[in-house]
């Protein structure tokens, strides 16, 4: 079966302009931030792929490229068997109906001048020719689906709580029957008790509607809970990908191991592996011949300066590392 979404060799670089770069540009160089530098993955129908990594690793840029909010520099994105990087006009709009997004900040993602009803009906107006009665009917269905409370639909964002706002965002995302929903840190801005409810809502919606999720987060514990498969990103590339159980039980890449060992476990007696990277994330303007982690990796060897192969270490478990 072909996967719902197939991304191959996706790249996005942002050209650097401004006073600090003119010398380099005079020399004929083209300084750029390589935010996403060759990323490939696939998501099956009804599956959740977790994309984890720290700030600046390029995970949100991947999401934006998928939805063509920004144009990828190169690479291929196949959605439901169709190459979408070259689409425009009506075809692009049709594709976007089937791919929706939920953003990190539930307040910033809502138009303050539209009430919940108008916000949720917006995608219906855009994508379907519906009578107002049909729209109202779909609205009621969706509102029930996200457990918003029918009495809240006439309210404006400032009259809703954070949790209710995020439910409006989710309702808007699922209103036009998408098959893929990109979740960009949808729980990071929420309080602890709200977070677990929204996580459960995503779980229920997926079961009921057969949705596929690209779940982007730096919250490793939440990714572990929601994702079927997990891809770990560092400096614009995926360094490890595996099904969730295998990745958390036996992480191979030193970056993944360091990332997992930094998450404080809510158990005072838990003593996991301690693997600390030194230094900070280097600038994404650099180009790399070998491993991108070599300067920070406690296990680095001479061979790490050579180009790194994408190897399978267990069935379905791939790692970008010489040592793993």
């Amino acid at each position: 079966m072909t996967p719902l979404l197939e991304v191959a060799g996706l790249r996005k670089s942002f050209a650097l302009v401004g006073p600090k770069t003119w010398a380099a540009r005079l020399r004929g160089e083209r300084p750029a931030v390589r935010a996403v530098d060759g990323v490939s993955f696939a998501i099956a129908k009804g599956e959740t792929l977790g994309l984890v990594g720290e700030s600046g690793c390029g995970k949100s840029t991947v999401a934006r490229c998928l939805l063509r909010v920004i144009e990828p520099t190169s690479g291929s994105i196949r959605f439901a068997g169709e190459e979408i990087t070259a689409l425009d006009g009506r075809q692009l709009r049709n594709t976007r109906r089937a791919m929706q997004m939920v953003y990190q900040d539930p307040t910033a993602a809502l138009n303050p001048r539209l009430n919940a009803r108008r916000t949720i009906e917006e995608p219906l107006r855009l994508h379907f020719k519906m009578t107002s009665a049909e729209r109202r009917e779909r609205l009621n269905e969706v509102v029930a689906e996200v457990d918003l409370g029918a009495d809240l639909v006439e309210r404006y964002p400032h009259e809703l709580s954070d949790g209710q706002r995020q439910r409006v965002n989710i309702a808007r995302a699922i209103a036009a029957h998408p098959s893929l929903v990109v979740l960009d840190e949808p729980t990071s801005a929420l309080d602890v008790s709200l977070r677990s409810r929204i996580i459960l809502l995503f779980e229920t919606l997926q079961k009921r509607l057969g949705l596929s999720y690209l779940f982007i987060s730096h919250d490793v514990a939440t990714v572990k809970y929601l994702a079927h498969r997990v891809a770990v990103m560092y400096l614009g590339v995926i360094v490890e990908e595996a099904d969730s159980a295998s990745l958390f039980a036996a992480p191979h890449h030193p970056y993944t191991r360091a990332l997992l060992s930094s998450v404080p476990a809510p158990d005072p007696d838990f003593r996991g592996e301690r693997l600390m990277l030194h230094g900070e994330i280097p600038s994404p303007t650099n180009t790399y011949a070998g491993c991108r982690l070599q300067n920070r990796c406690p296990l680095a060897q001479a061979g790490c300066a050579e180009p790194v192969p994408w190897r399978e270490v267990a069935p379905g478990h791939h790692v970008l590392c010489h040592l793993a």
Binding site: E54, S55, S161, G163, D191, V192, S193, R195, S196, R197, I199, L200, H218, D219, V220, A221, T222, K224, Y225, L226, F248, A258, L259, L260, S261, S262, V263, P264, A265, P266, D267, P268, D269, F270, G272, M276, L277, G279, E280
Partner: protein, 326 residues
């Protein structure tokens, strides 16, 4: 051993246009010298207000209606503003929550720290600068001389937080209040900041009041924990005891409501929502969310009662209240 900090029966209200908000309701907790106490709870449970009260910075429309805050035996609430200044920033320091906005953007990191030595200890400018450099080294800044020259906008989030910690430590405080010190930082940076706090408290003997909603941070950093809900303190316990045998229904719900990296769990969100503090429920403020709520919870406030060594809980279903409830 005498306690470093004793907060007793603290009641804080805020007068707002929308009416009176009863932010803290009879809060009691103590801290020993050198210990790290975690203060946990949902947003709006009164964690930060408790910390601000200890610093003597409750300002209008906030009012302290009752209670005492004894630090090294002296009731801070009875001190004049001038007297309080001898404590605030010097004996009791704080790392505020928003490290980006808390740093003055037009002063370099070095100057931000060295000023403190000039103000509090009367150092010369050169001596203060030398000590600032030492301090930046202590908090693990990679290149201290360079950091001295940099302004906050040139520093990463983790670096800003280290500068904040250096500023807080400049006066060798006995008590350091850290308000969500790792929120908004990447996990690997957060892990290093926590390690730094643990290490500093061990080396300098500074007690730390760590405000957080992250139970993982609590488990890995604190010796004791105080759990707050809607302005009431519901449970205090040594950290192991809190995770092994949480007593209050709220604590138990909180522990079960988080996705975990160490074990497989079934997520169970805390039922209901945090009550409005404008018209908080009478009696126990958790009763509308509590699966064990009884008749008595509506009328009476549960008192703190011991359920184990150093383990106190405010709930009618536990401790000495059991008989009364039966």
């Amino acid at each position: 051993m005498r306690n470093l900090l004793e907060v007793e029966n603290l009641v804080v209200h805020f007068d707002t246009d929308g009416g009176l908000v009863e932010v803290l309701d009879d809060v009691n907790f103590t801290m020993r010298a050198g210990e790290t106490l975690g203060l946990v709870g949902e947003s709006g449970s009164g964690k930060s207000v408790s910390a601000i009260a200890v610093l003597g910075m409750i300002r209008r429309p906030g009012r302290i209606l009752a209670g005492s805050i004894r630090f090294e035996g002296i009731d801070l609430l009875r001190l004049s503003e001038d007297e309080m200044r001898r404590y605030r920033g010097r004996r009791i320091a704080m790392i505020p929550q928003r490290y980006r906005t808390a740093l003055n953007p037009v002063i370099s990191a070095g100057r931000l720290i060295s000023r403190l030595f000039e103000i509090h200890e009367g150092c010369s400018r050169a001596a203060a600068s030398r000590r600032a450099l030492e301090l930046l080294d202590l908090v693990g800044v990679a290149d201290p001389p360079r950091c001295m020259q940099q302004y906050p906008h040139q520093l990463s989030g983790g670096m800003c937080q280290r500068v904040m910690i250096a500023m807080a430590l400049a006066t060798s405080p006995r008590l350091l209040i850290a308000d969500e010190p790792t929120t908004g930082l990447d996990v690997s940076i957060a892990a290093r900041i926590l390690e730094l706090l643990r290490d500093l408290s061990k080396r300098t003997g500074t007690a730390i009041l760590l405000i957080t909603h992250d139970l993982g941070v609590v488990a890995q950093t604190c010796q004791r924990v105080a759990v707050m809900h809607a302005g009431q303190l519901v449970e205090t316990a040594p950290v192991r005891e809190l995770f092994r045998s949480p007593a209050h229904p709220y604590t138990r719900a909180l522990v079960r409501s988080i996705p975990r990296i160490d074990v497989e769990v079934k997520l169970e969100p805390v039922p209901g929502t945090i009550p409005s503090l404008r018209h908080p429920p009478t009696g126990c403020r958790y009763r509308n969310r509590c699966p064990h709520a009884m008749e008595i919870c509506q009328h009476d406030k549960p008192r703190q009662a011991a359920v184990g060594l150093d383990h106190e809980v405010s709930c009618f279903a536990f401790g000495e209240h059991c008989d009364a409830a039966a």
